[in-house]
């Protein structure tokens, strides 16, 4: 503690108040010192860029390398054109869809690992589940192309089993598969963390009192893990809302999402950075409102990172 070395600066007239003054100062300075690293980080890499985007979004038709016009809300008016609605709608659909799939696949797995699997296997199982995250998301998307394409692994397998072939690549199902695969580990991790804390005595009590397993699940397990469900769902929803690689590579000709739309405004033919920025701001605002609502009305224990 810095308070232990108050005499490092020789004082001309040592006053009796000095020690308590130092303590006061320390109490004031300490939190600042502790907050500086993350504060600077946030300011430089989050707040400043966001403000920059906000500024660009308020310059109608801003194009880099050209004289900028005055401020205005022209970009936002343009952003609400009907042709962009289906892009926004598709992004939300993709995000909701993959969140639901991740939840349905992730909950049983997390439940099994946290409650039913032997204790000594738990860490290993978790690591195995998170293992795919260690490879590039791009590689994983390419792997799915190899699996899903008409002459790919999936159809070879289906042929062997005499099942009808599927043609999912370049269509919506491929996007859901790819996104669910990408984000499932996050969901499992978060659900595991909250299921692990589940009070098992309550499960026993429920069955002692005659609840069916189904009732126990819905009335005991789920309410206790609600915060984990909300946090996991939100994390997957937000990440899949901004996902670029999977829809781009697996989604085919009709897969334009918000990310691609923003990309096109920045790096495409029009290079309309102003419009692209306004899309970004709209997206940031939408997601922030979602998080704020969840924090306000969701479970207080929810730890959203």
């Amino acid at each position: 503690m810095s308070s232990s070395t108050p005499s490092s600066s020789p004082l001309a007239e040592p006053s009796p108040l000095a020690p308590s003054g130092w303590r006061k100062l320390t109490r004031l300075v300490e939190p600042i010192v502790l907050l500086v690293p993350s504060g600077v980080w946030l300011l430089l890499l989050l707040v400043a860029p966001t403000l920059l985007i906000l500024e660009l979004s308020l310059i109608p038709g801003f194009r880099v390398g050209q004289a900028a016009g005055g401020y205005g809300i022209g970009n936002y008016i343009e952003a609400f054109q009907p042709i962009y609605f289906q892009v926004i709608l598709r992004s939300i659909l993709f995000a909701v869809g993959s969140t639901v799939i991740c939840m349905m696949l992730g909950f049983p797995v997390a439940y099994w690992i946290a409650i039913m699997a032997p204790l000594r296997w738990r860490n290993l199982l978790l690591v195995l589940f998170v293992l795919p995250l260690w490879t590039s998301s791009l590689l994983r998307a390419y792997a799915w192309i190899a699996i899903l394409r008409p002459s790919g692994v999936l159809n070879s397998l289906l042929n062997v089993l005499h099942l009808p072939n599927q043609d999912w690549l370049n269509q919506t199902p491929a996007v859901y598969i790819g996104m669910a695969y990408s984000f499932l580990p996050y969901m499992v991790l978060i659900l595991y963390a909250s299921l692990e804390k589940l009070d098992r005595r309550l499960l026993e009590a429920a069955s002692d009192l005659g609840a069916t397993p189904q009732q126990t699940f819905w009335k005991v397990t789920v309410p206790q893990t609600l915060s984990g469900i909300a946090a996991g769902g939100l994390l997957v929803f937000i990440t899949s809302l901004g996902e670029f690689v999977v829809p781009e590579l697996l989604g085919g000709a009709s897969s334009m999402t918000m990310s691609r739309l923003i990309y096109n405004q920045f790096l495409g033919a029009t290079r309309n950075w102003g419009l692209g920025s306004s899309f970004s701001i709209l997206m940031i605002t939408g997601v922030s409102i979602g998080i704020a609502l969840l924090l306000k009305y969701g479970d207080r224990d929810t730890t959203v990172t």
């Binding site: 892009v87 000709a253 334009m256 033919a269 309309n272």
Partner: protein, 409 residues
């Protein structure tokens, strides 16, 4: 991360050991591994450039900081002990435009270490340059219409012709091109066409133009890929309607859009690169492609065929320019002069599947390559082709909005 992918992509293009000996003998068996790997890396680079957007800071700084990862895997890229920029040349180019042999040859001759970064569209390159993220590059390879834009925004140095040797070896039409009169700012380096690649056996007949897709759209459900570029795709459609690639008439663009919507169910995806494996395996029947990508694949899979549509297509020239921000113009001139040598240019044609604007280099090529209409289409074909030219901003927006509608409906 995206950057190292791209870098390795360019380094891995060709193994030096399998240089012309195997390649120049036409249809002889070609390296199995290298082209496929290159394609993969190339596509990764394309997709990764999108990823990089999500991380703007990295994107904008990578020209300076991201260069060291090249050191792995390629002798050409081991960092020179001298360090300083005088012995290094940063090149910003398209995938497949350089290879190890070229870079190594240049280093042997000049002692200058070349570091290659890749982009997959002129627009992405422009955005990076305009945002100030490209100050490390001394050579860039913009396409014809982008040269106009770059000159307009004052990004390019006027070339000192006294330091450029071998310009008179260019074919007459590249002596004074419309996009850059007298080659004041740019040196034409590579040209090619846009066309269709397909497997004649699967299709059962030979395709002669864009109309094939419309005529057979019922049987082609999700069997076609088109280039991921609004001007190329709408341009080709405009062309089938008898209009220009560069029309500024919104009615004509609208008609083209409506015509394009008819074949929407046939379009599997919009891919500039990344269609190759799906075409080779037969999952895709026809792909719209740039000639050098198509030729590179055909070298590997000779059963495929590339055609330039009879109704006309786009013909493009990629050039070398020196941006005003170039830290090492000396090395840039050395690179330009190196590539202008007929022997080197001819070598590039053989190795990279490209066409050269140099008459002297053309004369050095074996007959079979000279007569290869995929690389060098006949004048009759070329007369129907157009170069894509910039259109006013308002019209660009019209194109872009139709593109958004097309790719989101």
């Amino acid at each position: 991360m995206p950057l190292s992918n791209q870098k390795n992509g360019s380094d891995g293009d060709f193994d030096k050991s399998e240089s012309l000996a195997s390649r120049s003998q036409g249809r002889s068996p070609l390296p199995r591994f290298s082209p496929a790997r290159r394609r993969f890396l190339k596509t990764s680079a394309a997709a990764a450039s999108g990823l990089a957007l999500a991380n703007c800071a990295r994107n904008l700084s990578n020209a300076n900081s991201g260069s060291s990862p090249t050191a792995t895997g390629s002798p050409a890229s081991s960092p020179s002990p001298a360090g300083g920029s005088a012995s290094e040349l940063y090149i910003y180019t398209w995938a497949g435009y350089t290879d190890d042999a070229l870079i190594e040859g240049f280093r042997e001759k000049t002692g200058i270490q070349v570091v290659v970064d890749l982009y997959d569209s002129n627009e992405a390159m422009m955005a990076k340059m305009q945002a100030g993220g490209g100050s490390a590059y001394s050579i860039i390879y913009p396409s014809d219409y982008t040269v106009i834009e770059m000159v307009k925004s004052g990004m390019l140095t006027s070339l000192d012709k006294s330091r450029v040797e071998g310009l008179d070896a260019l074919k007459p039409k590249w002596q004074n091109p419309v996009y850059d009169r007298g080659n004041a700012h740019s040196i034409p380096t590579i040209w090619g066409t846009t066309g269709l690649i397909y497997d004649p056996q699967k299709v059962g007949k030979s395709i002669d133009g864009w109309n094939y897709i419309w005529d057979n759209r019922k049987n082609l459900t999700r069997k076609v890929t088109l280039i991921n570029d609004v001007r190329e795709v709408l341009g080709a459609t405009l062309r089938t309607l008898g209009y220009s690639y560069n029309t500024t008439n919104p009615d004509q663009i609208k008609k083209a859009f409506n015509k394009l919507v008819q074949i929407k169910p046939a379009i599997a995806s919009f891919l500039t690169t990344g269609w190759e494996d799906q075409l080779a395996s037969g999952d895709i029947t026809v792909s719209m492609a740039y000639s050098q990508d198509a030729i590179a694949l055909i070298d590997e899979k000779p059963n495929l065929k590339y055609i330039v549509p009879q109704t006309g297509s786009s013909v493009w020239t990629d050039t070398m320019v020196i941006p005003k921000s170039a830290p090492n113009p000396e090395a840039a001139y050395a690179w330009i002069n190196y590539l202008l040598q007929p022997e080197i240019a001819a070598e590039m044609v053989k190795q990279l599947g490209i066409a050269t604007p140099s008459q002297a280099a053309f004369d050095l090529l074996p007959q079979e390559i000279q007569k290869d209409v995929r690389r060098f289409p006949t004048e009759a074909t070329l007369s129907k082709c157009e170069g894509i030219a910039p259109v006013p901003e308002k019209i660009t927006e019209v194109y872009d909005q139709y593109w958004t509608r097309l790719t989101s409906s």
